[in-house]
Symmetry: C2
C-alpha cells in the first residue's frame, strides 16, 4: 500500500522534509496534489480534502497511511522514522532526533518570517521594509546561532545522532540548501564556521536514493513562493 | 528520583506547558532555576548548564530524567505523556496528541512574534509600530483560525483526543489563558465562537492537581516578559 503525501504542489515548503524521508527510505508514495486534477491533484482538491478529513489536520503537509492520517511535519517524520529505520530504536536517540527536527522547525518558521514578518496574508511587496529589518537580524544573529548549534552538535561525526543517518540529517541538509538558495552571500560568509554541516549536506546529497531524487522531476526547484526565498535585497551585500 | 526542569525562572513561557504536565501527573520535580543561586538556581546557572550539557539543547526548557536530557517543549511532553499516561497508548491517538501539541507550538510562536515581529534581540519599544501591524493580523486572522480549529476538533466531547485528558488539553488551556491575558478584548469578542474550548479550559482549571497548582506560588503570574504579553495598544479596541 502506497503512502499518500498531501502538500502544496508547486513548492518544496514543509512537505519537502517528508519527501526526503520517503525518498531515502525507498518508500512507495504518491504526491497526490501533484497529480493532474482529473486524478485528484491540484490545490483545490487539497484544500477540500483538508476540510473533509476527520480528525482534520490544521494545514498541509499530511500523510495518509492506510487508516492513519498524520499531520505536522515533525510528527510525520516521527512516524516515518520509526517505520523505516530513519531514527534510532532506543528512546534517547529517538527523542534526540525529534528534538533536532523541532529545532529545524523553529529555524524554518524564522526563515519564512524573514520575508513575511507582518502577515502571511499579505504579499512580500507589502511588507518588504519590515522584511529588510527582520532579514538582517535573521542573517546576522539567527542563522549563525542555529547552524553553529548543529555544527557543535555534529562535532567530528558523520551523522548528527549515533553512527547512522537519521531524518534529522536529511532535514539539516534541506535547511542548508534552502539557506544557500535564499541567502547565498550570507551563507558564503558563514561557510568557514560551518564546514562540518556543509560536509554533512554533501554526504546526504551523495546518498544514492537522494541523488536520484534530486536529479528527478520529483524535486521541485526552490522558488519565491516557498519558505526559502531568494530576494537579493534581503541577503548580505557582497 | 525527581525530574529536574530547567527553564527561565521569572516567566511561564514555553516551560509552563511542561510544568502543567508535571503537575497534572503528580510527578516529583524540581524547578531548578527557581531555586536560590546558592542551591543552583538563577539565570546564570541555567545558561551555564545549557552550554555544558552533551548533547546540548538549543534552548530551555529542558528536562533531566536520570541519564536522559530531553529538550524542545513538544518533545518533553511526548516523553512525559508516555511515562505518565497523559497521552493514549495506541499509536493513532499518541500521534494525534503530538500533532495538536505542534499546532499549539506554532500558535505560541506567532503569539511571541505579535510583540516581537522584527527581532527577539530588540526591545518591544523598538519594534512597536511593526508589532501593531502584526498583532492586528494575529488577532483578526490567526487567533480565530487556530482556536476555531481546536473548537471544531473538540466537537461536543470533553477532551480533544479520546475520552481522557491528554497533555494537548493542558496546552490548549494554557494558550486560552495566555491569549485572554494578552488580548482580553479580542478574546471577549471571540468567546461566542469558541464556547467549547472555553469550557475545556474550565474543566482543566477544575482538575484537583491543576487547581492546587494554579493557587500555589509555583504558578508564576503572566507578565510582560513572557510569550503572552498584555500591551493594551496591541489588543482590539473596546
Amino acid at each position: 500500500m502506497a503512502y499518500e503525501l498531501h502538500y502544496w504542489p508547486t513548492i518544496q515548503g514543509r512537505g519537502e522534509f517528508v519527501r526526503l524521508a520517503l525518498e531515502e527510505a525507498g518508500a512507495d508514495y504518491i504526491d497526490v496534489a501533484r497529480l493532474a486534477p482529473a486524478a485528484g491533484g491540484g490545490e483545490e482538491a487539497l484544500a477540500r480534502r483538508l476540510r473533509q478529513l476527520s480528525p482534520a489536520p490544521f494545514a498541509p503537509p499530511f500523510l495518509v497511511a492506510g487508516d492513519l492520517v498524520v499531520a505536522q511535519t515533525a510528527n510525520i517524520l516521527l512516524f516515518l522514522g520509526e517505520a523505516h529505520e530513519l531514527s534510532p530504536r532506543e528512546q534517547a536517540g529517538r527523542l534526540l532526533v525529534n528534538q533536532l527536527q523541532l529545532t529545524v522547525a523553529d529555524l524554518v518558521g524564522e526563515a519564512h518570517d524573514a520575508h513575511h514578518p507582518i502577515s502571511s496574508g499579505l504579499y512580500y511587496e507589502d511588507q518588504n521594509t519590515e522584511a529588510a529589518a527582520r532579514a538582517k537580524s535573521f542573517r546576522e544573529e539567527r542563522i549563525p546561532k542555529y547552524l553553529g548549534y548543529f555544527e557543535r552538535l555534529l562535532g567530528g561525526n558523520d551523522w548528527l545522532v549515533g553512527d547512522a543517518l537519521s531524518y534529522a540529517d536529511l532535514s539539516v541538509f534541506q535547511v542548508v540548501r534552502g539557506l544557500q538558495y535564499a541567502f547565498p552571500n550570507a551563507m558564503a560568509g558563514l561557510a568557514p564556521k560551518i564546514s562540518g554541516i556543509l560536509s554533512l549536506a554533501d554526504r546526504v546529497t551523495a546518498r544514492p536514493r537522494i541523488a536520484a531524487y534530486l536529479a528527478s522531476p520529483r524535486r521541485i526547484a526552490f522558488n519565491t513562493q516557498g519558505i526559502f526565498r531568494h530576494y537579493p535585497e534581503l541577503d548580505a551585500q557582497p
